[in-house]
Symmetry: C2
Subunit: 457 residues, 2 copies
């Protein structure tokens, strides 16, 4: 067997021709989305009022394990995929570990993250269905950037409701979206009734919230012709598209007769981790392999490790379907942690179900300063500047590698490095200047939030 | 012949084992560097007072066409190279051109540019020689970032003098260097005698220049123990290291039986373009091929198109060796153009000689707003956010492709996309808000500057 290179750099023939739909292979399926007023399972027709029809179909598909990737989508993937699978030789050496560390690096495209994997199909299907406009919300901005790129490519107009606090704090991110032609609106805005109500209630100077931005984007979509709403995480369709991360990783490792013992990723809504683990989880369900899965989340927003497995709204405005998921409550407002992409109260229903069934073995919550310790160490050793979100996985991969040193086990560790930190330099600056603080919600705070969870029979 | 992919993604076996030294194959060599006070050609011993010894040797090597790349350097290259060679199918389609457009994309590493190609060997040789500290200057910040990364990897302390205009415009860029452990100082500073003199002369509100920052970094190096100065452009050694761009591009094109008819790149000091063209220029000198070479520069700093081919200082403080080059005069302070990496008064002596000998066929100067027109169009079509510097090459490649449409010629165009624009969002913002202006120096300004050129017999 030849030596594993530093960067396994597959040719475009290795771009999967089909996404892998883990739902089809799950013996116990995740409970369905429910329509809020009827509490009945959402149908394709229900979902199609907000989402594209094909995406609604994918959302509810529990039967087809493989779904063809249209050639036009593969053409776009060809410009930036397969993403490299890195062998972290330098990190292994620095940690003096016998572990073999691999990471799938999803930051090597202009969106700076894995978000493009789902933005491309979402924009593509919108175009196929003759839609002219899409709306979405963005917090940290990675999803908004990815979708702006995809919409520019497919000729779809895009309106992004950007949380006002981020809009003002991250003008660079806003400009990137504008360069790609998006109409970026700080939320709450006076463009929607829900935005006006929020401005009325909180005053002009409110920094807004992701919940409000979702509500505005959905309202905009349903109140305009030829317009639908798209979402960058949480949903089954997004995990489906993101399965390309896991499929490529598995194919690359197989070339070198490798299979991961431990599979690590950060979780906010669960899109990247759901995509990474999909084919490996399929193996675990079929009992051909038994990797150990660790989902990593911030201590400031501990949905898996301290949340409840319960039906909850996906947004603060409570206009979206109810999803059964690990949640700290849609009313819970996380502290302004810098890993904005992980500040979500809930969790992908698939990830939640797999965790509840103990197929995902462990959820580990880490405090922010520990994340940045790992991020800076990793950057200096591996020469990649990671996003704070991604650094959650880095931290735990490093911890596991150190355990291997102590136990002298040559385990194979795989994690996904979801994106780069170029637009997080103010957070890095705060860390370098030792001005970063940690925040952990109290039991009382969580209890108050749990009390507001909707009751579902 | 199989279809050229969107992204030619070579495996690490294609990383060259040797750099290509175009000087050895040039029939008429570039005139030597001269020591300022004696006006005698600089020797290895002279240069070694400022630079590492091996780098000084490489600087003066006119004989060895191929120079081995040490394995430790190739190991670092393996983490991010070969850089992809892209076929711009989407751009070709958008421009309705029969031209085939290829670009070498050097932005897919954390430094965001090609600068890492030379930063790695320069830090490596410093470590080999037992040095503990390096100093350098940076304009746009790409070189400083690349060198910070390389120094972090090899365990060398680094002090970066950053052009003050960029330091203020790009605080994120400064933080990146700090994350990688560098000490970043805005130039002109009061840390050096030359900095103090420049502040005195230009006032404390000066935005500085690359030339000023070079003087400070050199003074810092020669006045501290165990410290040497390194430079990211202009010098022969840098072009040597950057030849990896051209070698990889040529190897990738050969796999598909392609050879460029037109070869385009931006020029500031000439490092990326010198690297790109090296092997193709070798072919031209040996008369096996005859590609057409276009060097693109900003109208605000038109060294090749309006400068003089004359001996000049490489820095404002006039402490570096004299180089024969196209120059607008070391006293010329360019306007605060956003393409900071191209704000250099001079030009690589090799590029200058090749241009003077008409082996480089054309120098084309473009105004800033035209550059950003091209950058935004390219971003939307190709899904890459280019640096303003790189966009000079994009603009001319697009212009040449449009000419091909008009003449119906299926020419093969190759350019180097040197880096990404993530840290140039304030410039993009100014452009999107239509607040960007152009600046073209008057003949009078240039005449005044030429009058201060040093006299050399």
């Amino acid at each position: 067997m030849k030596k594993v290179p530093y960067r396994i750099n597959l040719t475009e023939e290795y771009i999967p021709k089909q996404w892998y739909n883990i739902s089809a292979d799950m013996i116990d399926k995740a409970p369905p989305l429910l329509i809020p007023n009827t509490r009945k399972p959402a149908t394709i027709d229900d979902l199609s009022q907000v989402f594209c029809r094909e995406l609604s179909r994918q959302e509810l598909d529990n039967e087809n394990a493989y779904i063809d990737i249209p050639e036009e989508i593969r053409d776009y993937y060809r410009t930036c995929r397969p993403a490299p699978l890195m062998r972290a030789y330098a990190l292994e050496k620095a940690l003096c570990t016998p572990a073999k560390i691999y990471y799938k690096f999803e930051g090597n495209n202009t969106s700076g993250s894995h978000k493009l994997n789902s933005a491309i199909p979402q924009a593509y299907y919108a175009k196929q269905e003759g839609l002219k406009n899409l709306t979405t919300e963005t917090g940290a901005g990675q999803w908004g950037t990815a979708l702006s790129m995809a919409c520019a490519h497919f000729g779809i107009d895009l309106t992004v409701y950007m949380v006002k606090g981020s809009y003002n704090q991250k003008p660079q991110r806003r400009t990137v979206m504008q360069v790609f032609g998006a109409n970026v609106i700080p939320s709450p805005s006076n463009k929607t009734n829900s935005g006006k109500a929020m401005l009325e209630k909180l005053g002009k100077d409110t920094t807004g919230s992701l919940g409000c931005a979702i509500t505005e984007a959905v309202e905009h979509a349903v109140s305009h012709e030829n317009t639908r709403y798209v979402l960058g995480s949480v949903l089954n369709q997004v995990l489906l598209h993101q399965s390309i991360i896991g499929l490529e990783s598995k194919a690359a490792m197989e070339l070198y007769d490798e299979y991961p013992d431990i599979i690590i990723g950060c979780v906010g809504g669960g899109s990247s981790y759901g995509g990474l683990i999909a084919p490996f989880m399929g193996d675990k369900i079929k009992k051909t392999h038994n990797p150990y899965f660790i989902a990593v989340e911030p201590k400031s927003c501990p949905s898996l490790s301290r949340g409840k497995y319960s039906y909850d709204y996906c947004d603060v405005g409570q206009i979206t379907p109810l999803a059964k998921m690990y949640t700290v409550g849609s009313d819970f407002i996380p502290s302004p942690d810098h890993a904005g992409g992980l500040r979500y109260h809930g969790m992908s229903p698939i990830i939640s179900k797999l965790y509840d069934d103990k197929l995902i073995d462990e959820a580990r919550a880490i405090e922010q300063t520990g994340i940045f310790d790992a991020a800076v160490e990793f950057a200096r050793i591996e020469g990649i500047l990671p996003a704070p979100e991604s650094s959650h996985a880095i931290k735990v991969a490093m911890d596991e590698a150190v355990k291997c040193r102590e136990t002298n086990e040559a385990k194979t560790i795989l994690f996904v490095l979801t994106g780069t930190g170029y637009f997080d330099m103010s957070a890095y600056g705060a860390y370098m200047d030792k001005k970063m603080t940690d925040y952990i919600p109290t039991n009382e705070e969580l209890k108050n939030s749990f009390e507001k969870l909707p009751e579902v029979e």
